[in-house]
Subunit: 95 residues, 5 copies
Amino acid sequence: MILGTVVGDITSTINHPSCDGRKLLIVDKITPDRRPTGDYLIAIDIADAGAGETVLMIDEGNSARQILRAANAPIRSVIVGIVDDIRVAPEGERP
Amino acid sequence: MILGTVVGDITSTINHPSCDGRKLLIVDKITPDRRPTGDYLIAIDIADAGAGETVLMIDEGNSARQILRAANAPIRSVIVGIVDDIRVAPEGERP
Amino acid sequence: MILGTVVGDITSTINHPSCDGRKLLIVDKITPDRRPTGDYLIAIDIADAGAGETVLMIDEGNSARQILRAANAPIRSVIVGIVDDIRVAPEGERP
Amino acid sequence: MILGTVVGDITSTINHPSCDGRKLLIVDKITPDRRPTGDYLIAIDIADAGAGETVLMIDEGNSARQILRAANAPIRSVIVGIVDDIRVAPEGERP
Amino acid sequence: MILGTVVGDITSTINHPSCDGRKLLIVDKITPDRRPTGDYLIAIDIADAGAGETVLMIDEGNSARQILRAANAPIRSVIVGIVDDIRVAPEGERP
C-alpha cells in the first residue's frame, strides 16, 4: 500500500456501470515523512476523504474489485483508509 | 488510473481476433497540472478520443478485458474516459 | 521479492474486515548492501518484525491473499520473513 | 502496450515445456518518436519480427498466455505485432 | 523476462510451506550489454544457478506459481533459465 495526500478531483465519463457515481480523487504519493514524491494516481474513494487529507491507497485491480464488491469493475486504484497517525524514525536514526 | 493526452496513433497487426479493428492511440502521460511526463502508453480507445484530448486510462489487463467484454483479449491499456474537468490545488497551496 | 528495513508504522482505518487488527509497517526498500533506496511500502506484517529489522517483502496481491488465507483481502504488500543473513559479493568483485 | 525495436536475441534453457522452441528476442523500448529509452525486455516473438524492426509488445502474464494459448506458460512479455506506421504530432505541436 | 547476474543469496524464514527449502538468490538486473543497472530482485532458483552466472528471470506471480507447480505459493520472482548466449547489435549499429 502507498501513502498519499488528496490534492483535487476530476470529472470524467467512464464507460462502465460499476463506476457510475464514484468520486475520482487526485492523490499525490508522499513519503513516510509526508514529502510529495511528484508522482500521483487517480483513485476511487471509499473512505470519504477530503482535500488535504493523508490517505492509504492500494493500486491493484483484484483488491480494488474486492473493495467495491464489483467483480467486473475496470478499476485499479482505491483509497482504502484515512491515515490517523504515522510513526517513523527520523532518517538519521534509522539503522 | 492515469491521466494522459492523445498525441497520435499507430498502425500495427496484432495477431489476435479480439483486437481486429481496434483503434490504437499513443497517449502521453501527464501530471494533474497537465504537464507531460515523458512517459507514454499505446492504448485501445473505447471513449472515442481525438488527438489533443485529455483522457483517463487504466493500465491493467483484467480491467481492460472487462471493458472490452473479451475474456481472452491480449490487452492491458485502455482509454476509459474523456476528462471534462481537473480541479487541483496549486502546488504552493497543497498541505 | 524485495529487501527492506522496518522504519515505522501507521494507524489507519481500512474499510475491509480482512484487515481488522493487522499491523501496518512502513518498510524502506534497501539494496543487497543494505543501503536505503529512498523508496518504501506500507506492508502487512506476518513475520512479527520490529523496528530496525531487515525483512523480505512480497508485493503482489495474489501472494498476499494466499499468505493471509483471505481470498478477498484488499492487500498487496506483505512482510513474509525476517532476514537472517545476506551473502553478497562486494561490488568490485562481481563479474 | 509498448513500442520497441528488436536489437538481438538470447539463447537460454527455460525449464518449462510451453517455452520449448520459442524465439526469445531482446527488445529496446522506444518513444513514439522512435528514440531508445535505455530500457529493454526479453520477449517471446509471435509476429516473426526481425532485427531492427519496430514492434508492439505487451507485458502482462495473462495476455501473454492467451496469445500463446498456453494456460500454464511462465511468460509475461510477448511481441504481438510489427508496427507499420506511427503518426505522432511533433513535440512542439502537442497541446 | 529480464536478464540478471547472480551476486549472492539470503537466508530468511518465509512463513509458507511452499517455500520450504527453496534457494533465495540475489540477482542484479543487467542490460543486454551485461552492464549492471543498480536494480535487483530476490528470486527463487529453479535453474540451479551459481554466483556470477547470467540468468533469465520472470517477475510475475502466476508465472512463478506455474513454474513451481504450487498454486498457492506466495512468490513472484523466479530464475527460469541460465543464459548461454546473448547476441545483440552494438549500440552504434542499432537502427
